[in-house]
């Protein structure tokens, strides 16, 4: 084939067309972002959209008529373009409108949509009125994440090392709860934990209620509508998200490493601590993110399993946004939630980080 020769001759056009591809990708993304985020409006917005369309048309013309080398260099940008436009419009632009909405105010009580006015007091309100909800969201999510590690790690370990050919079946079993609706699963816990339900009955007959009450898990003989029930619901709903990534990292471990350690007179416990645990850290890391992030923003568990004193920040955002139509304060809370989680994730990945999240 003549491909190598062409590539040497065409390396110059290759670099420049690569630049053109990257530039057009960024340009189209920014164009759609600016229209979505309402930086521009009216005639200018139409002009920008026409420009973006022209870039896409130009790119297609180049890809059809250009030399094979140009085509090759442009291909990835072309493939990325539709998806990037989608993400720019419906992921990045909304974050911007969320920010502007959080700095807006309703001029009168009857305004449907608030106008932008650098209204920083929304953030003050978000913290002063909903501080406890923020605190509970991170506390409950943190505890739930910790418990999912305690429960999930042994399960993943047993599936990875003790189950031989039944591994895949057991993995399938771990995912099966996902096939019933999240809401229905959570509602099922209201039956299980109900005052006349099986769990309370068993605890009563074992006369463990006193112990659990002194541990603040039960409240006046009730299990439902307590903080423990909310945390339990969060733990349950996100447990598979912890088991699966831990399993993936355990499965990659070469069992001969453990055998070698034991041949060299390491105890089983020490081999586990020095070999298995360090190699499974990436799984625990991914699982923690997959559990903590959705748990911190959840409001379903607190809604069904909690009481008015266990509401989390998700409940407040949902209530302010959809019931009170108080978009500015709800947006401010949303934005703060995202900011805190982003900071936590960055700090956390500094300590345990792996590059590969997916």
């Amino acid at each position: 084939m003549t491909a190598p020769v062409v590539s040497r001759v065409g390396s110059l056009t290759r670099v420049s067309s690569e630049r053109a591809g990257l530039l057009s990708l960024v340009l189209v993304g920014v164009a759609l972002l600016s229209v979505g985020a309402r930086w521009v409006s009216g005639t200018i917005a139409v002009l920008i959209l026409v420009l973006a369309a022209l870039v896409v048309v130009g790119w297609i013309t180049l890809a059809v008529l250009g030399s094979p080398e140009t085509k090759r260099a442009l291909a990835p940008y072309g493939l990325l373009k539709p998806g990037s436009m989608w993400l720019a419009m419906f992921y990045l632009a909304p974050l911007w409108t969320l920010l502007t909405s959080s700095l807006s105010a309703k001029k009168t009580r009857f305004d449907v949509f608030p106008t932008f006015s650098w209204e920083f007091s929304n953030y003050g309100k978000a913290f002063s009125d909903f501080g406890p909800q923020f605190g509970r969201a991170f506390l409950y999510a943190g505890i739930a994440t910790f418990i999912t590690i305690l429960i999930g790690y042994p399960i993943a370990y047993v599936i990875a090392f003790r189950c031989g050919k039944y591994r895949n079946i057991l993995l399938g079993l771990v995912v099966i709860p996902f096939f019933t609706s999240y809401l229905i699963r959570t509602i099922a816990w209201t039956s299980i934990l109900a005052d006349s339900g099986p769990v309370v009955n068993i605890l009563n007959s074992l006369s463990l209620t006193g112990v659990l009450e002194s541990l603040n898990i039960m409240d006046n003989g009730k299990l439902i509508n307590t903080p423990a029930a909310v945390i339990g619901g969060l733990t349950y709903n996100f447990l598979p998200f912890m088991i699966l990534p831990i399993y993936v990292s355990l499965e990659k471990i070469d069992v001969r490493l453990v055998d070698a350690a034991q041949d060299l007179y390491s105890s089983a416990a020490r081999a586990f601590r020095k070999i298995v645990v360090p190699l499974s850290v990436p799984g625990v890391f991914a699982g923690t993110l997959l559990t903590f992030i959705p748990a911190a923003g959840d409001f379903v568990n607190a809604q069904f399993l909690g009481n008015p004193n266990t509401t989390m920040i998700g409940n407040s955002i949902q209530d302010q946004f959809l019931r009170q139509n108080n978009y500015p304060v709800a947006s401010a809370m949303s934005f703060v939630l995202m900011a805190i989680i982003t900071v936590l994730v960055i700090v956390y990945s500094r300590f345990f980080g792996t590059a590969d999240l997916a």
């Binding site: 690569e18 630049r19 260099a73 291909a75 940008y77 493939l79 990325l80 539709p82 998806g83 990037s84 993400l87 419906f90 992921y91 909304p94 409108t97 969320l98 949509f113 429960i151 999930g152 042994p154 399960i155 047993v158 599936i159 003790r162 399938g172 099966i176 709860p177 096939f179 019933t180 609706s181 999240y182 809401l183 229905i184 699963r185 509602i187 099922a188 039956s191 109900a194 006349s196 339900g197 349950y236 447990l239 598979p240 453990v258 034991q262 959705p294 923003g297 959840d298 409001f299 998700g314 959809l322 978009y327 709800a330 947006s331 949303s334 934005f335 939630l337 995202m338 999240l357 997916a358």
Partner: protein, 273 residues
């Protein structure tokens, strides 16, 4: 692992028992959902066990509002999964097939929607739609909202599945005179299809079950989870459990058949190789 002390054996058994309890924990609510589909509730809330009946199963679709909502959910999932599979697969191919400038930054952009809490995704998208006067909340906005997070999900899943793909096969096909288009449809596409279909099935399930993001962008349209949530304040009919059990059985069978077919396919490929 040749030498097993008594303490070690006790530890092993304890660990297995613990994992067994873990599985019971995972399946307890599922068992309850199925069991309560056979309950004859007193009053409007199917929460407390009364007595066994087959009545609910004689007409699983008697709660028309619930059935309608489920059909809406299926339609939304179909459209949004189609969009997301198309966009996401293209991204995945671009990222694993080519090395190019900006790919690291692009990977980061892809992961972002999945590490943003759903409530932030839902409320931010709602602020985008609120500002556009020509947008009405409903079917369209839900489709956009679902496809938004599905794109990232499909792209990352497909990329993970085709990571080991041997792209020199394409060169081989073209060396033998196949056109790029023919190469794609005859060589590349059949080989990456299992990854794409697995990703789109999972994306479909995610859309069907999504509640929080949908809640913010639905307007008056009711999806299956939204209908359950709305109804849960005034009633919880056993039909919810019946439908949930049906969905469970159907999806588990699809999964079982799929994995059996996959095994057979792998065995067949193994024989020809």
């Amino acid at each position: 692992m040749s030498v097993t002390t008594k303490r070690g054996r006790v530890g092993r058994i304890a660990l297995n028992v613990f994992a067994g309890f873990g599985f019971i924990y995972l399946f307890l609510p599922i068992a309850f959902i199925v069991a309560f589909s056979f309950n004859q509730p007193k009053g409007k809330f199917n929460i407390v066990w009364q007595r066994f009946t087959l009545e609910n199963w004689t007409d699983p679709f008697s709660d028309t509002a619930l059935t309608d909502a489920f059909v809406t959910s299926l339609k939304i999932a179909a459209v949004s999964t189609l969009i997301a599979t198309f966009l996401g697969s293209m991204i995945a191919i671009a990222l694993s097939r080519y090395r190019f400038r900006g790919s690291a930054a692009y990977n980061f952009l892809l992961v972002l929607p999945l590490t943003t809490p759903e409530i932030v995704l839902g409320s931010s998208l709602a602020t985008l739609f609120l500002g556009q006067s020509m947008v009405d909340f409903g079917f369209g906005t839900i489709v956009i909202a679902h496809a938004m997070f599905q794109v990232s999900f499909v792209a990352l899943t497909v990329r993970a599945r085709i990571r080991g793909f041997d792209w020199t096969l394409e060169q081989a096909a073209q060396d033998l005179g196949a056109s790029p288009v023919r190469t794609f449809w005859k060589v590349t596409f059949p080989l990456i299809l299992p990854g794409i279909s697995a990703a789109s099935l999972l994306a479909f399930a995610l859309s069907l079950d999504d509640f929080i993001i949908t809640f913010f962008n639905a307007g008056s349209t009711l999806t299956f989870p939204l209908r359950i949530f709305g109804a849960s304040r005034v009633e919880l009919p056993p039909q919810i459990n019946v439908l949930a059990s049906v969905i469970l059985v159907v999806t588990v069978s699809i999964m079982a058949v799929g994995s059996l077919l996959g095994q057979r396919r792998r065995r067949r490929l193994g024989q020809t190789a």
